[in-house]
């Protein structure tokens, strides 16, 4: 076999390396571009009244989105309360009992597919399930939509984290005579605690920035948040409505709300990564 001259191959290799570096820089560049855009435009809108007052009518200036912040917190908490128990329990089934069985396989597969489902479809589902029978938009419908988005995320991370717990731990607890449920909840859960918290935080981070599933479930409202039984103010739909409005001061409020949401979501995401990293 004749040895091939290396020059051409080296040049191709060099070009690919350069392209790889450029791509990585482009990825980082977009992140910095977005974050700097949100910070520079949003920071001006943040002041005391932004966090304490209702939105002002256009042209008046001032005003805030305190109601939307409260509404978003309430709906995220509601969705977390519903989805975390269901997600943890179904994760336990997949990791501890179901394992390779057909039922578990079906559930795992559906969870993966549901995680990739467009969130607006889940919004349509919650609309048909809650809004139509009740006859009006409500925060409950928003909570249902967000919970549906969270369940598969919590389930899959719970399963992955429980599977990392070594079997010897289970066996020693069982050998002491503890029933299986106690072994799972008291021993396996404790061993996997950091991972479970990470999964929940990531799920919360994901849904707290969601807009599409709230558009026709929780809708939005310019009034104080009082209960989840009517249209519920929330940050993301407020951003959508205000950004599309022709009023400069509303657009300004939308940028402020964007900054709050971005900081919140990124903080949760980084916190989750940090917890996992300190443990492993």
């Amino acid at each position: 076999m004749k040895p091939r001259p290396p020059t051409g191959r080296r040049i191709v290799d060099l070009l690919v390396r350069v392209w790889a570096v450029i791509s990585a820089l482009a990825g980082i560049g977009v992140l910095i571009w977005i974050l700097s855009g949100v910070i520079s435009r949003g920071i001006g809108a943040l002041n005391l009244s932004f966090f304490t007052q209702l939105p002002a009518p256009p042209g008046m200036g001032g005003g805030g989105v305190a109601n939307a912040i409260l509404g978003t917190l309430a709906m995220t908490c509601g969705a977390t309360l519903i989805s975390v128990p269901i997600g943890l329990l179904s994760g336990i089934y997949l990791a501890e009992f179901g394992q390779e069985s057909k039922v578990a396989d079906q559930s795992r597969f559906s969870a993966n597919v549901l995680m990739g489902m467009p969130s607006i479809i889940v919004g349509l589902f919650a609309y048909a399930l809650v809004v139509l029978p009740l006859g009006h938009f409500s925060g409950y419908a928003g909570v249902v939509a967000l919970a549906i988005l969270m369940i598969p995320v919590v389930t899959r991370t719970t399963e992955d984290m429980l599977r990392l717990v070594p079997n010897t731990l289970r066996e020693s607890a069982l050998a002491l005579g503890a029933p299986r449920w106690k072994v799972t909840l008291a021993v396996v859960f404790r061993a996997a605690k950091a991972g479970l918290i990470t999964g929940i935080l990531l799920a919360v981070a994901r849904v707290s920035g969601e807009t599409a599933p709230l558009l026709f479930t929780a809708l939005d409202s310019p009034y104080w948040f009082t209960s989840l039984s009517g249209p519920t103010p929330n940050l993301t739909v407020t951003i959508f409505n205000y950004a599309m409005s022709p009023y400069d001061d509303w657009v300004q409020l939308a940028w402020g709300a964007s900054l709050v949401i971005t900081v919140g979501v990124l903080a949760f995401t980084l916190l989750a990564r940090f917890i996992l990293r300190t443990r492993h």
Partner: protein
């Protein structure tokens, strides 16, 4: 087995059943979503039949609905996104695994993953107020001057439109494709790579002829996962696509996608047929993304299974 304590075994039976019921909720939800979409869109399916998929008519006044422009916009914006995101994300994965030092790789990796954490609506805000003006001022005139002979790049450079939506979608799906491709590159055993290096192959040759063929199933799975994301992305697209129910040859022209039509019109729709037609659009999106996800899961599962057995 020795005598089991009846109290504990009973508790275990209940516990197992409870967890099994919870894990059945997820497949039931999937089936429920499909069923409800079919039921709600039935009036529209019955009235328009298959022509719904090919008709461009979208007129709430005369109650004539066809989803062609939305379906077309969904497919075209996704195609643009994939054309841009695939070479970028594979190159970034290559950078992370083969080229960068571990410390650099860790930092860059985190930053790329943060791109996935940024909410869709933030991409929308940034896209409409920052990126679209940038496109109108620099990118679109440049494309027009160089490739303007193609019908794709004609018309006024407005910033908002199909091309801008596709590019922003590319940024959004990039981290998803990149994360899995990176895992695939990392999972290829070092022995295999080192043998190729030992034969005198360059880094690119090792990647192109050894790593990529070795992990091809996984990489294709990653592409399908990204595809599924791009198809259903709502808020970012709604902000920048321009929202017009016309199919235009030019990528500069405004268009719409299934998700953006739903986001824009659903709360305004009052007539039952209008709502039903919108939900039928949702059903179409559900079916497309479901099929894409099934392919992605099938490929990824095959890869992980064959690797855990084969090695």
């Amino acid at each position: 087995m020795a005598k089991a304590n009846p109290a504990t075994s009973k508790g275990d039976a209940y516990f197992t059943r409870l967890t099994a019921i919870c894990s059945m909720i997820i497949p039931l939800l999937m089936a429920g979503i499909f069923l409800i979409l079919v039921i709600q869109s039935w009036p529209s399916i019955k009235k328009f039949g298959f022509s719904f998929l090919f008709s461009e008519a979208w007129n709430p006044v005369t109650q004539q609905f066809g989803g062609a422009s939305s379906i077309y916009g969904t497919l075209v914006s996704t195609l643009i996104a994939m054309v841009i995101a695939v070479p970028l994300s594979i190159a970034i994965a290559l950078f992370l695994v083969e080229l960068a030092r571990p410390e650099v790789s860790k930092v860059v990796s985190t930053m790329i993953e943060l791109l996935a954490a940024i909410p869709s609506i933030i991409y929308g805000m940034w896209g409409m107020f920052v990126f679209a003006p940038f496109m109108a001022k620099y990118v679109q005139p440049l494309l027009k001057d160089t490739l303007g002979f193609l019908p794709l790049f004609q018309g006024p450079p407005m910033g908002l439109g199909m091309l801008t939506a596709g590019i922003i979608l590319a940024f959004m799906v990039l981290p998803f494709i990149c994360a899995i491709t990176r895992d695939v590159f990392q999972l290829v055993p070092n022995v295999v790579k080192e043998s190729a290096h030992g034969m005198g192959a360059t880094t690119w040759e090792v990647t192109y002829k050894v790593t990529i063929p070795y992990g091809l199933v996984g990489i294709i799975g990653a592409l399908f996962l990204g595809l599924g994301r791009a198809l259903g992305e709502t808020m970012a697209v709604t902000f920048v696509i321009g929202n017009s129910h016309q199919i235009a040859a030019s990528l500069f022209a405004p268009g719409n996608s299934i998700a953006s039509t739903l986001a824009n019109e659903f709360t305004e729709a009052t007539e039952p047929m209008y709502i039903s037609a919108l939900i039928e659009l949702g059903l179409v999106l559900f079916i497309i993304t479901y099929l894409v996800q099934v392919v992605a899961q099938f490929l990824l599962r095959r890869m992980y299974k064959s690797w855990s057995v084969g090695l």
